[in-house]
Symmetry: C2
Subunit: 440 residues, 2 copies
Amino acid sequence: MEPLRVALLGCGVVGTEVARLLTTHADELAARVGVPLRLEGVAVRRPGRPRDLDIDQALFTSDAAGLVRRADVVVEVIGGIEPARGLILSAMEAGASVVTANKALLAEDGPTLYGAADKHGVDLYFEAAVAGAIPLLRPLRESLAGDRVRRVLGIVNGTTNYVLDKMHTTGAGFADAVAQAQALGYAEADPTADVEGFDAAAKAAILASLAFHTRVAAADVHREGITGVTAADVASAQAMGAVVKLLAICERSDDPDGVESVSVRVHPAMIPAAHPLAGVREAFNAVFVEAEAAGELMFYGRGAGGQPTASAVLGDVITVARHRVAGGRGPGESAYADLPVRPMGQVRTRYHISLDVADRPGVLAQVAQVFAAHQVSIETVRQQQLPHREEEPQAGPPRAALVVVTHTAPDAALAATVEALDSLDVVAAVASVMRVEGED
Amino acid sequence: MEPLRVALLGCGVVGTEVARLLTTHADELAARVGVPLRLEGVAVRRPGRPRDLDIDQALFTSDAAGLVRRADVVVEVIGGIEPARGLILSAMEAGASVVTANKALLAEDGPTLYGAADKHGVDLYFEAAVAGAIPLLRPLRESLAGDRVRRVLGIVNGTTNYVLDKMHTTGAGFADAVAQAQALGYAEADPTADVEGFDAAAKAAILASLAFHTRVAAADVHREGITGVTAADVASAQAMGAVVKLLAICERSDDPDGVESVSVRVHPAMIPAAHPLAGVREAFNAVFVEAEAAGELMFYGRGAGGQPTASAVLGDVITVARHRVAGGRGPGESAYADLPVRPMGQVRTRYHISLDVADRPGVLAQVAQVFAAHQVSIETVRQQQLPHREEEPQAGPPRAALVVVTHTAPDAALAATVEALDSLDVVAAVASVMRVEGED
C-alpha cells in the first residue's frame, strides 16, 4: 500500500520532536499503522534557517497552504488562532485528517473545526492540547463514554505549578518564584498567558466540553491567575495543612431549582495536603476526575515539553492513520447535553479568609454577624499570632489574625461577605482570601 | 436507525451494574452512540432466581449460545476460560463485536480471540480486564501508540494492596490482615487467586503484550504472591523509608549481547515512600508507565467493584457501538515486535536482605565475601538491634541484624547469594528477603 503523507505545520519545540520521532521510529510506526508514514513537508516561516533536526532540507517550505493539500494527515503545532485555523480548514476540505495541539483555537472555535471534520468525513484529534503527554482526552471521550462525569479538577499548567511549588518549598514570593521558573525555562519571558490563567482556562473549556457533552468556550470560563498569591497565602495554607494550586475546575451540579448546569473555572485554591493533587510537584500536571460509576480517577504526567507533547501528537497520528488504512472515524463533537454554564456568582465554593483585626472582646461577634447576614456558614475560626510587620512597628492598639474557613456558599455571597468585612471598623485589613477545594 | 442489540453474558456484581446502567442511562447512551442500545438478553445459569435488578424478567435466559447469535454487541462478564471462550468465539462468528472483562482468558488465549475478531471483522475490547475503572488499556493501545514504552509498574490487585496497606498501618501480620479484608468484602473466602498473584500475573501479561507489541501469556510471567510477607518485612521496609507493594512489572531491556527483550513479573517489592505508587492506599489500583518520549505517567483509580468495572465495560460498549454505526474497527492485536521474554534468573533486580548474624568481629567480612563471590555489589549495609524473639529467649551468644541492600544484579545471582548466606556459620537465619523497585 502507498505510504500515508504527513504534513507538519510548525517546527518549534514540539514540531521538531514530532519530525524526529516520525523519521527515527519510522519502522515501528509503519508496523503499528500497517503502512509507512512519510513526512511530506514541514511548513515554517523561514525554510532556510538552520535547525537541529536531521531531515532532508528540501522538506521545509513556507507554502503551508500548498502543503496541506498534498497530505493525508496534517499535524498543526503552530498554535494561536490564525493562520492555524485557516490551514486546518483547508486541510479538511482537501480530505486530510487533522491532529492539533492548539488549545487556544479549540477553546475559541472548536465547533467550527468539528463541523468541518464532519462535513468532510475526516478525523480531528487533539490529545496534546491538554496536559501534554498525559492520555486524558481519549479517556474522557471514549473510556468514560458510558459513565457520567461529575467533576474534573486539574493542574493543567506546568509553569504555575512550578511557581507555586517553589513558593511552598522555599518560601519565596511570587516574583522571585517566577524569576526562578524563567531561569530554568519553565516560564516564558512574558509569563502572562500562564500566570494569569489564560492557558489553563482554554484547557478547562476543552475538558468541560468533553466531560459534559456541552459546548464550553474559553470565554465561558471564570478565570483568576496566581499573580495575587502571596507568600502569606502560602504560609496560611501550610498552617492549615493545605497547599495552594492553580486549579481548572469543571463541575456538573443542580441549581436550587433542580436544573442541571455546569460550572467551569480556573483560580488558585487551597487543597488538603492529603489530596492526590497536592503531591503534584514541579512542572508536572495531573487531572482528577470523579465519575458516577467509575469513582475517583487520576491521570498524572508531564504537561508540556517537546518530547512529551510529541508523544501525544504521534499517538493521535497513529490513530487517524489507522482510520485511513482500515476505515472508520474517531468520535466527533458530542454536545447533545447542552447544559447551561452557571455564572461564577452562583457557583458554590468555600473561602479561606484571613483577617487582621483589633484584639478586643466583641470582635468575633461582629465578624460572625457579617457572615450570618450574608447567609454564609462558618466551618472553623482560628485566632493566631499576627505576624510581625516591618513596615508598621507595633505602635497602635493590639491586633490579632482571625482565620475563617466557611462552608460552601454561593461565590457571590462569599465575595460580598469579604467586601463587608473589609469595611468593618474592627477589621484593619483582609489579609488573604482564597477558595478551598478538594473536600466534601 | 434500528437499535443495537446488546447481549450480556453473566449477571454477577459487574453484570448487574452493566444492565442497570444500560437501562437507566439509556437516553444518554443513545445520544452518545447515535442509536439506542437495546438489552437483548442476559445469560445466567438460573434465570428464575430473584435478583436486585429492575429489568424485564423475560430477558433472563439460560441459553447463552442462542443469545449471542441475536446480538450486535456481546458483553462477557462470566470470567474463567470456558464457557466464556466458546461463547465469545460463537458471538464473533455470528458477526457480533465483543467487550469482555476476562483477564484470565485474555492472558491464556488472547491471540485466539484477536484472530477470530480479525477473521470476522469485529471488535474486541477489554478495558475492564486490567485495573477496573482506570482507563489504561486504551491509553496503552492508542495514546502511546506513537511512543516506546520502557516500563510498566503497577498495583493491579486491590485485595493484596488492601492487605499490605493494613499490615503497614496497623502492624498486623498477613493472616490477620487477610481476615480483615475478608470481613470487609475486599478478599474472597478463598483468597488464593489474589494473594498468590495469579490475578496480577494475568493482568501483567495483558499489559506487557500491549506495551511491547509482543505476545506474553500468563505462563510467561514470573509470579510470587504475598503469603510470605511478614510483619517483620513490613517493619524492615518502614525502617528504610519504603513500603511493601505487590507489583506487576513489565520491562523492556537490552541483555548483555545488546539483544532487546522483555521481562514480566509479579512479586512483592519494597518501593521508596516518595514514589507515587507508595501512596496508593486501601484497595485502589495505580499503574506507572515510563515511555521514551512521554516520560513518566501514572493512572490511578478503583481497580474492582461492580460500578467501576461496569464503567469501563460501558465505555467499550459505546466505542464498539459507534463502530457499528459509523464504520471502522478498533486496533487489533499488535505483536509485530515479537521480543523474547527473558527468564527471571536473568532479570536485573535489587534485593533487600535482612540477616540474623552472630555479633562478633569478622562477620561482615564473611558476609561481604559471599556477595563478592556472586558478583553482587552492595549498596548499603546497616546493622540494627535484633528484635526480641519470644520463641527464643536470649540464651545463646549475642546476635545482631545485618540489613543489606544491593545494587542491581541478575536475579539468579541474588538468589544464589541468599542461599550461600543461609549456609554460612555466622548467619543464624536469613530473616527477610525482598526485591527493591522504583529507583534507578
